[in-house]
């Protein structure tokens, strides 16, 4: 700390002069950055909002389209039933619903199983691959700065390249390899997020145990697996399960490029005329239910694997407990050291061990079962690459040189602008709504616990609904791409941002709040004088996180009709123009890199 010599304040005649002479230090960098970020997102968000044209006319058209969609999509045709329309007198249609047997239901179950197996296998591959990438990308384990840069770059690229692009490219490279390209696409794309969060966890570990193993003569791999990995295992499990949730939602998009599963089912229904439209809403409901159930399962699995054990009085617990008691009584009190050691060589099957063993093996079994169920043609990973399918002048396909095809730079930039607009408008919408829901769900801000629980519930409910799926439904129903995408992402963002803001506000030290309340401040005064400024840096960090996520989501939503760069990518994919696919992917990577770099710089300034 440098002590700068402050000139003695000259004795001024009046208090006003003395006040005027008080030195005013320049505002801290974090304060400037906070407000600048909020201001910038506000301005850009508002501009994007205007740019997306939510005019009255477009709202009116939306209403018409929505009514038409509902007219076409009802009555719903659930699997197992058949809806037939007969044109009756006066042109009115009469619908009859008939039971056609269980085959369609079994077919749907099979589709769901394929989807789940794809998610599990893809995520499992990513979970394994992300360990070496994270090892190289964490500052404290990386062997060399070059490896660090390489692994981090790999993570950014993997996060930025949309799954469908990888899947389609691999599908042609490994022509006829079935589901394998989709599994690998899910796996490679997921490495991006898992390795980043895993590397962050590695950087936050306690160095002590590792030093202890180093000083006992352990090699670097031994230091990692014995000293660091056990510390980050909980984080790894949590991230992997969270990623599985995200990947399930992603399979809907994958269906648009022909990957088997529930997404393909939805896409098929959309393109199968009136009879197909009647299947759309049931399929969307099934997808949403699937996502919710999967999330419940994955979060309870997370709790089990991480050792948060239920204290329940369930049948299983009671049985295990009784068995243990019986066993405990049998163990004799050993007298000599050799006897004691002998007795201890077998690890007792106590409840903790039974519990974790069961869940670990159940998880392993699920992964193996998924592989067996899908039976990917693994040999194609290394053999028989059909370069002629991706690079063939006769078929009009090539991967090199990169080109935008018939589009010029301006068109591409306009598409990028639309995607960015969607992301910013969605972020602004999410932020504005979260400004209400977030504080109201913080214990120290909400006027009563009832209010807090209500708003917590709202955020939880929004989080539970897969926003990608909702966005797709919006886009299909309204016929409006970017506007619907922004709206869906904006509302979906509330679930995440409101929770994070609420948590940050609850984490604020409550001393200053109490002091202000004791001085007679009203609730609102306390909120603005203490809670807001203290939770500002972390809230801005969360806002940037939402923006980063929205950029990626907006890109992907383009594929299903949200417009922007994603739409160009889909066209290129459909035309098998891999040179264009690669060019658009490069543009997308550039976009994501810019936003993520901004995020990193802003977070560094906030610290």
């Amino acid at each position: 700390m440098t002590v700068t010599a402050t000139p003695p304040v000259p004795r001024a005649s009046s208090i006003a002069d003395r006040i005027a002479a008080v030195p005013r230090p320049r505002p801290r960098l974090s304060t400037i950055v906070s407000y600048a970020t909020i201001g910038l997102i506000g301005v850009l968000g508002f501009a994007s909002f205007l740019g997306l044209d939510y005019s009255l006319k477009s709202i009116e058209t939306t209403g018409t389209n929505l009514a038409r969609f509902i007219g076409m999509a009802t009555p719903m045709q659930w699997p197992g039933w058949d809806v037939t329309a007969v044109v009756g007198e006066g042109g009115t249609k009469i619908f009859t619903t008939t039971w056609v047997g269980p085959e369609p239901i079994l077919h749907m179950v099979e589709i769901i199983l394929i989807t789940l197996a794809l998610v599990v296998t893809g995520t499992a591959i990513a979970a394994v691959l992300s360990i070496p990438v994270a090892y190289g990308a964490a500052r404290n384990t990386s062997p060399h700065p070059l490896v660090l840069a390489l692994c981090r770059g790999l993570g950014v690229v993997a996060r930025a390249v949309p799954e469908p692009a990888i899947a389609v490219f691999l599908a042609f490279l490994w022509f006829g390899a079935g589901i394998l390209p989709a599994i690998v696409a899910v796996g490679l794309h997921s490495v991006g997020m898992i390795s980043k969060m895993f590397a962050d966890a590695i950087e936050q570990t306690d160095e002590g145990p590792r030093t202890a193993i180093r000083s006992a003569g352990g090699t670097k791999p031994q230091q990692f697996w014995s000293g660091i990995f056990p510390q980050v295992l909980p984080a790894w499990v949590a991230v992997v399960l969270h990623r599985a949730d995200i990947n399930l939602r992603g399979t809907v998009i994958l269906g648009y490029v022909g990957v088997m599963g529930i997404g393909a089912e939805l896409n098929g229904a959309l393109h199968a005329g009136p009879a197909g439209m009647r299947r759309v809403i049931p399929i969307v409901i099934i997808i949403i239910l699937l996502c919710v159930v999967f999330e419940i399962v994955s979060s309870s699995l997370r709790a089990k694997l991480l050792g948060v054990r239920p204290t329940g009085r369930g049948v299983g617990d009671t049985v295990v407990r009784t068995a243990l008691r019986a066993k405990d009584a049998l163990v004799p009190v050993a007298a000599t050291s050799a006897e004691r050691v002998e007795a201890a060589t077998r690890r007792p099957w106590d409840r903790a061990r039974v519990g974790s063993a069961v869940w670990v093996w159940v998880s392993v079994a699920i992964v193996i079962a998924s592989f067996l169920y899908l039976q990917p043609d693994v040999a194609r990973l290394v053999s028989d690459w059909r370069f002629d399918q991706v690079h063939n002048a006769e078929l009009g396909r090539s991967v090199w040189p990169l080109t935008f095809g018939s589009r010029d730079w301006e068109t591409v930039l306009a598409a990028v602008l639309v995607t960015v607009q969607v992301a910013f408008a969605a972020t602004l919408m999410g932020a504005v709504l979260s400004l209400v829901v977030g504080p109201m769900s913080a214990r120290n801000v909400a006027p009563s616990s009832g209010v807090r629980n209500f708003f917590r519930g709202v955020a939880l409910f929004i989080r539970a609904i897969p926003d990608l799926v909702v966005a797709i439904l919006f886009i299909i129903a309204t016929g409006f791409g970017p506007q619907a995408a922004a709206l869906a992402l904006g509302i979906g963002g509330v679930g995440l941002l409101a929770k994070l803001i609420g948590d940050s506000m609850e984490e604020v030290p409550n001393g200053p709040e109490r002091a202000l309340a004791a001085a007679g401040g009203t609730r609102l005064q306390v909120f603005f004088a203490s809670t807001v400024p203290m939770s500002m840096p972390s809230s801005v960090g969360h806002l940037m996180y939402l923006l980063e996520q929205n950029i990626r989501s907006a890109t992907v939503l383009g594929i299903v009709g949200g417009g922007g760069i994603g739409f160009l990518l889909l066209n290129a994919l459909n035309g098998r123009n891999f040179d264009q696919v690669a060019a658009f992917v490069v543009v997308i990577i550039g976009m994501v890199v810019v936003v993520e770099t901004a995020g990193i710089l802003i977070r560094r300034a906030l610290r």
């Binding site: 006992a216 003569g217 031994q222 990692f224 014995s226 056990p230 061990r353």
Partner: protein, 297 residues
């Protein structure tokens, strides 16, 4: 590895200056530690005790001078040679540095990693003989019944016992201990110190242990080395040393007024103890005199 003629540790004119700092952490340190000797490094925090210890097994590299451990120049060792050397040196840390989420047994087993090839995950990836050996060590340090508990569910004293068992797993020739009881309550402290001493005697280990409590050091080591600001200011066998002698030396070890204030209380306690001892003797003499007076009457 037995070169009984060479000292276990030979330090010659060791100096260490951390990059970005002006004053050296160690300067001109020269000392030999003979096999089987139990040495206490005494000094206040920042006096260079930890730095010295960490040079002995190569966790730090010297700026000047050299360190020979078990007959080998530590700074010249690389890769597997250095790991093999470290495998012969147990290290006990102030903060235990055991892996919290692992079981106690697996923590102990990690001490054997230098004798194994490749990483290990889980108890069952270690050979059976090592598991048995680890359990024996746990029995020796008195926490066998906790073998399958998560290590972070143990108390501080128990965690340090796990760390001792882990060091034993290396079959060490030298045991280095960096303030092994500074994070423990007095009760556990004396138990852990006694345990280290017993184990050292059983296995005739060479021990270098840093401490800041004079009374612990006095009854415990064969030899005391006092450090002040990175220099050796005291090197003496403990035989025949009394506490106030050491306290007096410890006063010299302290350098700043803050440090002096910190030991002022301890010095005052010693003076009080001496004073009351004198008073007691005086009163005894007086009462003796009274008694004899009475008898005379």
């Amino acid at each position: 590895m037995t070169y009984s003629d060479t000292p276990a540790v030979r330090i010659t004119d060791l100096g260490k200056t951390y990059p970005g700092t002006k004053s050296p952490a160690l300067s001109g340190v020269s000392l030999d530690v003979h096999r089987g000797q139990i040495v206490v490094l005494l000094g206040l925090s920042g006096s260079g005790k930890s730095t010295l210890l960490r040079h002995i097994n190569g966790l730090e590299t010297p700026t000047t001078g050299r360190v020979e451990t078990l007959g080998q120049v530590v700074a010249q060792q690389r890769g597997s040679e250095l790991r093999a050397l470290r495998g012969h040196i147990g290290f006990i840390f102030q903060q235990f540095e055991i892996v919290g989420p692992l079981t106690v047994l697996e923590n102990v087993l990690t001490g054997a990693l230098s004798s194994l090839r490749g990483p290990r995950v889980g108890i069952w990836t270690y050979p059976k003989e090592l598991r048995r050996k680890a359990l024996e060590h746990l029995d020796r340090v008195g926490i066998l019944e906790r073998a399958y508990q998560r290590a972070d569910t143990l108390s501080g004293g128990q965690q340090q016992r796990v760390a001792i068992a882990r060091a034993l797993m290396q079959d060490p020739e030298i045991l280095l201990a960096d303030e092994p009881v500074a994070s423990l309550d007095p009760e556990s402290s004396s138990q852990v110190m006694a345990l280290i001493r017993e184990i050292a005697a059983e296995r005739s280990l060479t021990v270098v242990c840093s401490l800041h409590q004079v009374d612990l050091a006095l009854g415990w080591g064969d030899r005391i080395i006092g450090l002040r600001a990175g220099e050796v200011v005291l090197d003496t066998p403990t035989d025949g040393l009394s506490k106030d002698q050491v306290m007096e030396i410890y006063g010299r070890v302290a350098t700043t007024t803050g440090e002096l204030a910190a030991i002022e209380q301890e010095l005052a306690d010693v003076r009080d103890a001496l004073l009351s001892e004198e008073l007691r003797k005086e009163s005894e003499q007086r009462s003796d005199a009274d008694r004899s007076d009475g008898e005379r009457r």
